[in-house]
Amino acid sequence: MEHHDVVIIGGGPAGLTLACELRERGRKDVVVLEREAQAGGIPRHCGHGGFGLYNSWRTHKGPTFAKLLREPAREIDLRTATTVLNFTMSGNLRLHSAKGIQEMSAGTLVLATGTREASRAARLIGGNKLPGVMNTGELQQRVYLNHEKPFSRPVIIGSEWVSFSSLLTCRHAGMRVQAMITEEASLDAPGIFGLGARLVFGAPVLRKAKLRAILGHKKVEAVEVEQGGTTKQIACDGVIISGKFRSESALYADGFIEREGWAPKVTEQFKTSRPNVLAVGNVLGHLERAGTCMLQARELAKVMTA
């Protein structure tokens, strides 16, 4: 069986940065496993600006940023199109690649699998199953990678700062957002979008409001929103379900390591409940900016080589 000193699962900003830092610090036998055909993680499909190194003010568009990340990573053993399926009882990895399934063992294993948004299903949003209901991930890939315009008058559910990423994406594609609907009392976003906003880019903001159902026959025609005990319908032709990020927990949800909510339970030193398993980046449960995840990865590299 193949063995490596360090195996990192996930080739996003956190995983790639960790691998590069470890290499600079003299750890030679480091492998990054990434299931997509290309490494870079979420920024690959965030076509808008706002990605900075270590929270610096110089920002890039997501894809450019992802490219900048991949450049130094040329030196490392990065295996794309390689999915970690699960772990064996003894803690080895089961990998899938074009060749089939293979096992691998690791001295130290690092989870850097990122987060994803709570789906419509996880939020128990009822109504009809219709095309034109998607999360930010799908929206961005359609708009920025495929140059599609899946709808023209969507509503956006959520108000975390990534919901504003959806807003930017909609603007880029020439869509008119009909409303932003949030369960919160105030907008959870920084700066100019902050507290008490009634309009964002011209779209009304419905606060303390909950999406109950998505209506329509062949396509989305309206959403049903509950606000202060009454329900009303808002006409739209698409629904973007954004935010409520949760750790990509598929690999450990079955009890491989202890959890705190959906995220791995970790110490300040990024240690999980299993002695040789660490976790870094957005998998820790908060949607941080890319630069913050990279700082975390640098921090972890220090800990691992101390």
Binding site: H96, E138, A250
Partner: protein, 452 residues
């Protein structure tokens, strides 16, 4: 173009397809007409996918007979068609004394129905079998023969086998009128006229409407909706058996069960509706279902919900299947197949074939050997395509590009995206398309255009 068929089946749900398969294998020239862009566009697209023993069916009913014959034939043919079976057994759990008192009656009925291996479980036995089950359960009745199957691959395999035996399936072919002329029916469809000596109405939720094209319907379809909540894969480890409730006079209650795809689901509700097309879910009901699941299996509180769906049962005013042949009108009706049609379909096909032989002409005694058309396995517990390699496109369900391409080829390529999902499971997992939806639809479009 005046091709004349022996048989035209209206409707490509599981019932229509099983009938098509059996009659085609009997040497009849058969065609099936489906309104939707793909097969399984009606009641058959959303159910619990349980293979029932018939332990609680009305004694001596046609439903019971068809279920038991269907069950036996499924076990008989499933290996040749590569169809899965998740051997779970079922437990009817009693949550209070009143329910506990009813178990004996259920046991008696099961035995009367020929299901003799049922067995009462004490609370301790129940706990040993299902350690994660809430301690509030007071005991249960074990039905070893109840299992879980794949609701979509089975009818797909029947369709493929029918085609291998010469049958034709025409989709986007809603039948809008029927005229009997010169010993044959002339059916007006969206794809032109189809002529057949005998028509079989297997139109499920539209059974009464299709019946009305030819005769006065003796029944009316009153759809009954069932909603489901599906939990993520780690949940499947928490339960072995299908957990059935003790039925009350009012309702059969909701079931907690593992799916063939490695998830755990709760449902269905039973709600009267006028809607035949769109099975909608509603948050209040979903919340209740989820809460009930957690109540029964407390560890579920730490597992995410990954999917929601609803199905429509083609219920009528009577609980019995409506299967009859009208000798004068060259018409067979197979309607009102309400809530056991997945199990019963192969048995219904046997019954329909016997009706045909009785009323419309002998079927050949000596048949050509069956041609087997195995389908790709989607069941989590058996060997799946990705295990041999290839490029995974859907990361939650581990669906490969090869599978998606294969589903768009062959004699019955996926007719739409929903059909592609039923054939491969792509985008049906926990991320609900965050990562892959865009790749999957692009691959589908490419394969479709490449093919045509």
């Amino acid at each position: 173009m005046s091709e004349r068929f022996d048989i035209a089946v209206i409707g490509c749900g599981v019932v229509g397809l099983a009938i098509l398969r059996r009659l085609a294998m009997s040497g009849l020239k058969a065609v099936a007409l489906e309104k939707g862009a793909d097969i399984l566009s009606g009641a058959s697209k959303g159910n619990s996918a349980l293979l029932h023993t018939g332990f609680d069916a009305p004694p001596k009913s046609l439903e019971l007979k068809c279920m038991q014959a269907g069950y036996a034939e499924y076990l008989d043919i499933r290996q040749n068609l590569n169809l899965p079976l998740l051997e779970t057994s079922a437990i009817i759990a009693a949550w209070n004394e009143e329910e506990k008192a009813k178990l004996e009656g259920i046991e008696k009925k099961a035995r009367a129905n020929g299901v003799n291996d049922v067995k009462q479980l004490s609370p301790t036995e129940l706990r040993i079998r299902e350690p994660q089950l809430s301690r509030n359960a007071l005991g249960g009745l074990l039905v070893p023969g109840e299992h879980v199957i794949d609701p979509w691959s089975a009818p797909l395999a029947y369709a493929h086998q029918a085609i291998a035996h010469g049958a034709k399936i025409i989709r986007k072919a809603e039948v809008t009128a029927a005229r009997f002329e010169k010993d044959a029916w002339h059916l007006t469809t969206a794809q032109g006229e189809v002529t057949a000596r005998i028509v079989i109405n297997a139109a499920g939720l539209y059974g009464d409407k299709v019946e009305a094209l030819a005769r006065t319907p003796s029944f009316e379809v009153k759809p009954r909706k069932g909603q489901f909540v599906v939990f993520d894969k780690p949940a499947a480890k928490l339960l072995r058996a299908i957990l059935l409730p003790v039925p009350t006079a009012r309702t059969k209650g909701v079931v907690l069960f593992r799916t063939i795809f490695g998830n755990l689901a709760i449902g269905p509700t039973a709600e009267e509706t006028d809607e035949r097309e769109n099975a909608t879910t509603d948050t209040a009901t979903l919340e209740k279902l989820k809460a009930r699941a957690i109540e029964m299996l407390p560890a579920l509180k730490d597992v995410d919900v990954t999917a929601l769906y609803a199905g429509l049962r083609p219920a009528t005013q009577q609980s019995e299947y409506i299967i009859e042949a009208d000798e004068k009108q060259n018409w067979i009706t197979a309607a009102g197949i309400r809530s056991t049609g997945l199990t019963g379909s192969l048995g219904i096909a046997q019954h329909v074939s016997a009706l045909y032989a009785k009323h419309f002409g002998k079927l050949p005694k000596k048949l050509p050997p069956p041609k087997w058309t195995p389908v790709p396995n989607l069941a989590e517990h058996a060997i799946r395509p990705y295990m041999k390699g290839g490029e995974i496109i859907c990361h939650c369900e581990w669906v490969t590009r090869g599978e998606i391409e294969a589903a768009t080829k062959g004699p019955l390529p996926a007719g739409d995206l929903a059909g592609l999902k039923r054939r491969t499971r792509a985008t049906m997992g926990r991320c609900q398309g965050f990562y892959c939806a865009q790749h999957v639809s692009a691959a589908f479009e490419k394969a479709k255009h490449g093919a045509s």
